[in-house]
Subunit: 285 residues, 2 copies
């Protein structure tokens, strides 16, 4: 099976209502008077990082990608559990993890380690406390809303290619936790851009039953000359969100388009319909 | 690094107080008026299961081993998140997972899937609600307490070897959820026996600062002729617990010894001191 087929099969299993049909990046768990936000993301050698990657960067990114999912829910992190395959420069992994945990003030809660014989796989479960309910989802974008991004896209692409000005964007991405908390009470929909701006816009528009009309000239990109690639590359972990017309974002952000009623395609780029999510960004598996 | 060294290094990271110093199987998270119990266990091909294992059994066991950690805390499961490596008979894995979730009435909350190129690794995060606080730990065994097990040990060993009467004990272990909930208000210490009775007794005695004096003849074993092996083999997922003298267990259970003040060794078997945890059970990594 590929990832899409597997997830489709998972949807037929008994699901928690907080799983949101497995169509969101986090589970939402109302418990007593609080609401928790829980996510589990993995990274695998060859797929998510190169065999000779600095394991400190891998650890940082594993933490950052999970915290970014919490950021998109306006959640403040409570702690993380680590699932670790021993063997690939464990000491460097620990250094990067320690740096990340200290930078974000997030404690380790537990986890498990295993010895493996093949390529390494790492998992992290992040648990956060929702600062605003209802917790933002991908589903609430409504016609007339403005579409915003919290920062430029394409920096991770340039960093991946070795551009010294953008190495940290690829190796040490910064989850937008403070921004997500500031935005949560105001947004109609929010997600982090992990798989590419166009693909994630397509997904948010699809989930919301609307069409996103984007103006490419308005999108902040790391390289104007390579705009089409910047729009499709992932790993930047900026926030994508929609706000009702007339509401200004409470953080530095750029408006990149407008939500319309559903048209033929969920996504329009400079009035060109993009009905098919293929080739819009990074798709796993 | 081996697993012990890695966990020792993890203990130097910023830890959540609910991590209990990474010396317990679960994290405890007080949130509002509720207390959550959270665990993450992994299984890896070659280490935890054979390359040609039925993936339905692997999925069941992954779920069962995590639910068994909740059982030892007297927690009732809320849901699980799955970390899955695509590729090894995914359909059978899904069947086993579905059977397990339905058997225990536990819903899926989320997770992640990755494509990998090597041996497969699976992780599961289980979240439960504590039914009794303080949540039982390994630490509370006190001199004079009785030591009990909830059922025989060694069944998984016989099942692993192919004994048809015990195959299900190895392939489809049953976490003692109802028993754990019944026990939680009464026990002074509790854990599940995942790595072998003697090793887990040693660990509980060590954590509690006492000595466990066991009588081998009292221990329920799957094969009396192979008692020494039964005492050391893991994967049975029975509950090990201590009760203050005079308190009868509220479930069917067998008394196997008595807690004493710490002597030279944390563990005595038929008056033979066993100071060293090496060779007492299954040690990973």
């Amino acid at each position: 099976m590929n990832e899409s087929e597997f997830v489709a099969a998972l949807r037929k299993l008994p699901l928690h209502k907080g799983a949101r049909g497995l169509e969101d990046d986090c589970a939402i768990l109302a418990i007593g008077s609080e609401t928790l936000v829980i996510t589990h993301d993995m990274m695998a050698e060859d797929t998510h990082f190169r065999p000779h990657a600095d394991m400190a960067d891998v650890a940082w990114k594993l933490l950052a990608s999970n915290l970014s999912d919490l950021a998109a829910k306006g959640a403040e992190p409570i702690g993380v559990l680590l699932g670790y395959s021993l063997g690939s420069d464990d000491a460097r992994f620990l250094e990067g993890l320690a740096e990340g945990l200290r930078t974000y003030g997030v404690p380790l809660m537990g986890g498990d380690t295993v010895a493996t014989t093949g390529t390494s796989t790492y998992g992290l479960t992040a648990i956060g406390r929702a600062t605003h309910v209802p917790v933002p989802s991908r589903k609430g974008a409504a016609p007339g809303d403005g579409i915003f991004v919290s920062g430029p896209v394409g920096r991770a692409m340039l960093g991946y290619e070795g551009d010294p000005d953008h190495l940290s964007a690829f190796n040490r991405p910064l989850p937008r936790l403070a921004e997500g908390i500031a935005l949560a009470p105001h947004v109609s929909a929010m997600m982090d851009i992990s798989d590419g701006l166009l693909l994630d816009c397509w997904r948010m528009a699809w989930a919301s039953g609307v069409t996103f009309a984007l103006e490419s000239a308005a999108v902040p990109v790391a390289s104007r000359a390579r705009m089409q690639e910047c729009l499709r590359w992932g790993d930047d972990y900026e926030l994508l969100f929609t706000l009702p017309e007339g509401i200004a974002p409470p953080i530095a952000a750029t408006r990149i388009g407008t939500v319309r009623s559903r048209e033929h395609a969920p996504l329009m780029l400079d009035d060109m319909p993009l009905p098919d999510p293929a080739n819009l960004g990074y798709r796993h598996g």
